[in-house]
């Protein structure tokens, strides 16, 4: 065990995978010698050579196209997109290629070895183009998995699981927590299951669901609510596609109330899918409407970032409103 921040945990996962399996290659813009603009790939080129950890030109569509090909030919490529905001030039390669490779070929070929890493979310004064949370787009793409860790321990275990998973995975890292989130992490290899939610806190009055950097926000809000005597159950979804509906439904059947929190804009955010499905699953158990506390339906702002964010206060107020419905 070592004390690590989330970035070091990512680096440790990559290091672990590269040491074990020489089909693992890491690449992206500034990923080589420099170790990436956030330093997630630090020292990997030194350790494993330029052929296995390298810079690419600035072309996200090329990076993912290249990664698809390498994966189809038997490698385990880990492609870094410098910011999730810059993943869109690769959207076609992901929607039409990555996600459909196995299906369209009748399983003659697949790109299951592929993992796409990208830092996402606000909190660094990054405005429109260094803050987006685009995960919902990816949950509408059958054929890929979507994973978001909330802390260093989760990050290493989930990333290793993603790397070895037989399906392609888009792995969004909460950059706000890169250095802020610290914890004890095992130095050896371990994996955490994909597709399984994690119950972070038990409670009886309301279920709170989030992922990544919003999980600590839920905890803050739950602490406030606790003082009012409200017992919150907190679920970290961890995998968004396929998501763990049973875990959420089971909890809601117990608590009768559900709140979903995400940074992304509200309309067609992933909270919509959870709410739509859970109102079907738990119709007779719901004591108040499922509530979404989310970013606004605007581009991600700068001067008003604080106002935009679905913070602990908005969450706390929404918990109260749900309880008082």
């Amino acid at each position: 065990m070592s004390k690590m921040n989330l970035l070091q945990a990512i680096n440790s996962a990559l290091d672990t995978a590269m040491a074990k399996d020489d089909t693992v290659i890491c690449f992206g813009e500034d990923v080589g010698h420099f170790g990436g603009v956030f330093r997630a790939t630090s020292h990997l080129q030194e350790k494993y050579g330029k052929a296995r950890c390298f810079n690419t030109p600035i072309t996200e569509q090329g990076i993912i196209g290249f990664a698809n090909g390498a994966a189809a030919a038997g490698m385990r490529p880990i492609a870094e997109i410098q910011f999730a905001d810059y993943i869109f030039p690769a959207f076609d390669q992901i929607v039409n290629e990555t996600a459909k490779y196995r299906y369209r070929s009748g399983n003659e070929f697949n790109v299951g070895g592929l993992t796409i890493r990208a830092p996402y979310g606000g909190g660094i004064h990054g405005a429109h183009y260094h803050s987006q949370s685009p995960e919902a787009f990816f949950t509408h793409i059958p054929g890929i998995k979507v994973v978001v860790p909330r802390n260093p321990e989760q990050a290493k275990g989930l990333l290793l699981a993603a790397i070895y998973d037989p399906d392609p995975v888009v792995f969004f890292e909460p950059k706000k927590l890169y250095r802020a989130s610290q914890g004890e992490v095992s130095d050896v290899e371990y994996t955490l299951p994909l597709g399984k939610a994690d119950r972070v806190r038990e409670g009886t009055d309301i279920t709170l669901v989030a992922w990544g950097a919003q999980v600590p926000v839920l905890e803050q809000a739950a602490d406030m609510a606790e003082k009012d005597g409200v017992s919150c159950e907190i679920i970290d979804l961890r995998t968004l596609l396929p998501w763990d509906r049973d875990a959420v439904a089971e909890s809601v059947r117990k608590t009768g109330r559900l709140l979903i929190n995400h940074e992304a804009p509200k309309t067609s955010g992933f909270g919509a899918e959870i709410a739509a499905d859970i109102q079907t699953e738990c119709f007779l158990y719901l004591e108040s409407p499922i509530v979404r506390v989310t970013g606004l339906d605007t581009p991600f702002p700068l001067a008003h970032e604080k106002e935009y964010m679905p913070d602990h206060l908005k969450t706390y107020e929404a918990i109260k409103a749900s309880l008082n419905y």
């Binding site: 089909t23 290659i25 010698h33 052929a51 296995r52 390298f54 690419t56 030109p57 072309t59 569509q61 090329g62 990076i63 993912i64 196209g65 290249f66 990664a67 698809n68 090909g69 390498a70 994966a71 189809a72 030919a73 038997g74 490698m75 490529p77 030039p89 076609d92 390669q93 039409n96 290629e97 459909k100 490779y101 196995r102 299906y103 369209r104 070929s105 009748g106 399983n107 003659e108 070929f109 697949n110 299951g112 059958p142 054929g143 998995k145 037989p166 399906d167 597709g195 396929p242 509906r245 049973d246």
Partner: protein, 396 residues
């Protein structure tokens, strides 16, 4: 690391704009239309066996394309694309490769697949989307793919296979294999951003790939001069710092020669190569297209005279390797083969309902299993409305 640009060489003091047509790339041609080889021409590595295998594949593809076109008109299949007039490109280049070299095609390269041994039944099963289709009936006709033959499954979105080929080549190199990838695409697809990414990355990462552009004059209705303003696609290779050659794509020997040498550069020196082949799409773009709306019969006739199959046949006959009799019997045999296989494939049932949700992931997750179960229940309720799949459920 560090700045390795040379910014001091070749300094000039007057503004001279380089013309957009500064680069004129010649075309390699070995064989004349009459079957005679140009004097002093360089020859590819080819013996009688290889020559006849190529020509045999030409005739098979002619029989296949002809029959499928007719079948589409009869309504037996929904869609088809011929490669008539362009056979020397995919078949000639495939003939220059090792079977373990990986092929990433656009969609008009069934000849390369046939050359590798895709059986007529395999073609038919794909075209009829039946349960024996390697692709499990999921894609439109002509979207072939075959792991056994190292032919990656075709995907309609244009250009996507080009950066993938760069990745495939890189993987082959990383795995220490003495192989390369070949990537086919049209001059239209070369306008996509993926093309740019692919060639730049390949040149930079020294990925062993042969980028083979079939410049056949059209992208559906759009003529090449409305696709680009430069000297074709070849001039771009130089911009990427990539070895480049232009060939007459209706000349089997030129294609074979260029690809054999390109393969050497790719496999031995890890040098990617761009080949631009000047050819012509004699047929319609697809069975959904009617070229009379955008080009003249006269133009088509001009190109019909440059037919690559006839050109090779003249050469073979001059060599004494081929004659009218062989021509007739081979064509007849392939026509019969295709017809028989078609009749067989037509009767093979559609894939089972499970194949609707299989292979989205390696193992179907809960939501797909749930959707399949619901669907089965529904079909059992209305078996007459979903005849293709209902009969199987009754068996369960």
């Amino acid at each position: 690391m560090s700045d390795q640009r040379n910014t001091n060489a070749d300094i000039v003091h007057k503004a001279r704009f380089i013309s957009g047509h500064a680069m004129k790339i010649p075309t390699l041609r070995v064989l004349q239309q009459n079957g005679k080889i140009y004097r002093n021409a360089e020859l590819p590595d080819i013996d009688q066996e290889l020559a006849l295998k190529i020509y045999d594949t030409f005739l098979f593809i002619r029989a296949l394309d002809e029959r499928m076109l007719a079948s589409q008109r009869q309504g037996r299949i929904s869609f088809y694309m011929t490669e008539t007039g362009e056979e020397a490109n995919d078949i000639g280049s495939a003939a220059a490769l090792h079977p373990d070299d990986i092929i990433l095609a656009q969609y008009r390269e069934q000849g390369a697949l046939a050359f590798r041994g895709f059986t007529v039944d395999e073609f038919m099963n794909q075209i009829f989307s039946n349960e024996k289709d390697l692709g499990k009936g999921r894609q439109m006709p002509i979207h072939y793919g075959c792991d056994r033959l190292n032919y990656y499954t075709i995907s309609s979105p244009l250009g996507t296979q080009i950066p993938q080929a760069t990745g495939v080549g890189y993987a082959l190199k990383a795995q220490g294999k003495k192989n390369c990838a070949i990537c086919y695409f049209g001059e239209g697809a070369a306008s996509e951003g993926d093309f740019h990414a692919a060639l730049n990355m390949a040149a930079l990462l020294k990925s062993p790939v042969i980028f083979y552009c079939r410049n056949n004059g059209y992208a559906i209705s759009t003529p090449a001069h409305e696709q680009y303003a430069g000297d074709g696609i070849a001039a771009r290779g130089v911009g990427y710092g990539m070895k480049t050659i232009r060939v007459d794509g209706n000349d089997i020997l030129a294609v074979l020669l260029a690809t054999q040498q390109a393969r050497k550069l790719a496999v031995e020196d890890h040098e990617p190569v761009l080949i631009e082949a000047m050819t012509y799409r004699l047929g319609a773009h697809s069975t959904s297209d009617d070229p009379s709306g955008y080009r003249s019969r006269k133009e088509e006739d001009l190109w019909r005279k440059k037919d690559p199959v006839a050109r090779m046949r003249h050469w073979l006959e001059a060599k004494g390797w081929w004659d009218e009799e062989k021509e007739k019997s081979t064509l007849e045999k392939y026509r019969a083969d295709v017809m028989a296989a078609m009749k067989k494939a037509e009767k093979v049932p559609a894939p089972p309902l499970e194949d609707l949700i299989n292979d989205v992931y390696e193992t179907p997750p809960w939501h797909l299993r749930e959707q399949l179960d619901a669907l089965k229940g529904h079909i059992r309720q209305y078996p007459d409305e979903y005849k293709k799949t209902a009969w199987r459920l009754n068996d369960e």
